[in-house]
Symmetry: C2
Subunit: 260 residues, 2 copies
């Protein structure tokens, strides 16, 4: 793998370009379309992704791109950028500043660089494989948490969980110390800051989770799917991110027991 | 009732004094104590309320005070200030900027002035009986929403609802267009801004809801308890706030049917 520093510069350039577009549409009456998967999309999502793709096409024409709104380009390439222009579109539409622009770089499918950018609160988390993660340039680290009983647990909404996964959610919400809701990718940023302990979600797409992996891991945390396997661009989208490996193991055990 | 303008000035003074204290403790490792009702409290909650009480005692010694952390003083007075130094202490502890300082003035028990202040995102909602509500000094208004089927519905967490009220929550979450979670009093601010349609909660205390009433009503919305009765300082703490009276009525009907 090449030195990632030049790619990190590009990632910052993408996030810098996304911000004015996000701010332009924030809390304005944008039209909301509903996509095939029933999720909402606005002109802001589309324009932010277009802006980032134009930069990547110009600067790194050999790299692939997988984006939420404008699909796949050259995704068999060694390096693929995985983009969610506005993760938490429902929050964006409601004027709640917990959505984020997610930017990941995958090397042979593995997330090696991630940015979580919140344009309204002016917060940018950066994770690069093998380096300490940062928030607004300051090194951050996750906190200790021995087990789920002591954990602040985040998930976006109980409605994420359907079928058997409802049992897993119910067991986690019951066992944890504090269940918290509603902040999309921002919850992973709080975990990397040592302010939350575990985030459990399901039904995510590559563009929802790839950027989170280097941020949480570079803060000393762990990110896997619900079976404990590391995430790649092709993972299913059941995600656990924890600040402490012991709590992470407890979540895995709790899920396995609940769904047995 | 006296002219409320001088009291509004005092309310701003309280919110201005609360902000630096909130900011001083935000995302720092504050000790968390658990109160008799199992809710958390930090030095930030206590110091913010102390700061506001000192101002009220000095400026309006004849007025009563009811605060979350330091109890009741002279609450039989004609005017009583109802204070929640940090509504959403769990969010505050998790570093999530959706908590708020809530300041209400009640006249003979009825909320006539309310402030919702978010110190980190720098947002202040103000409602005064008989006047248009404002956010950061700009007039705001709720939006139209014919019924719950078209509504963005907010509540803090499903765990708020126990016993029979779980049926009401389930019916609302099922019927609404988008269920959203996790932002405490901020959700009422979003409703007053015309970005959300209805907030339904239960088990609140006077200091959780009094400030919200003038803000939402002054933006054209409606706030009642679950039976449709206007809220006073002595209400039970089951709350519905909606931007449009038609949606509000639909929520009332849905609750009644679910709990019948």
């Amino acid at each position: 793998m090449e030195n990632l520093d030049p790619f990190l510069e590009i990632a910052h350039k993408l996030a810098d370009a996304a911000r004015p577009v996000v701010r332009k549409y924030y809390r304005t009456p944008v039209a909301v379309d509903v996509k095939a998967d029933d999720s909402p999309v606005t002109i802001a999502d589309r324009e932010v992704e277009r802006t980032m793709r134009d930069i990547l096409n110009a600067e790194l024409p050999d790299h692939g791109i997988l984006g939420e709104e404008h699909g796949r380009e050259n995704t068999d390439a060694e390096y693929v950028w995985v983009l969610d222009p506005i993760d938490g579109t429902k929050s964006f539409i409601s004027g709640k500043p917990s959505f984020a622009t997610l930017i990941a770089l995958c090397h042979n499918g593995k997330p090696v660089l991630g940015v979580i950018d919140q344009a309204i609160t002016d917060e940018r988390w950066v994770g690069v494989m093998g380096q300490a993660s940062t928030m607004n340039g300051v090194e951050i680290s996750a906190r200790e948490c021995e087990d789920l009983d002591r954990a602040t647990f985040f998930t976006t909404a109980p409605e994420l969980f359907t079928g058997d996964s409802q049992k897993a959610y119910a067991a986690i919400a019951e066992k944890c110390r504090v269940p918290m809701y509603g902040v999309d990718a921002y919850a992973y940023g709080l975990t990397a800051l040592g302010l939350a302990d575990t985030v459990v979600e399901i039904g995510l797409q590559a563009y929802d989770f790839c950027a989170l992996v280097p941020v949480v891991e570079g803060a000393g945390g762990v990110v896997t799917d619900w079976s404990g396997t590391a995430l790649t661009m092709d993972s299913r989208g059941d995600v656990i991110a924890s600040g402490d490996a012991r709590c992470h193991q407890d979540v895995l055990t709790t899920i396995k027991a609940a769904m047995a």
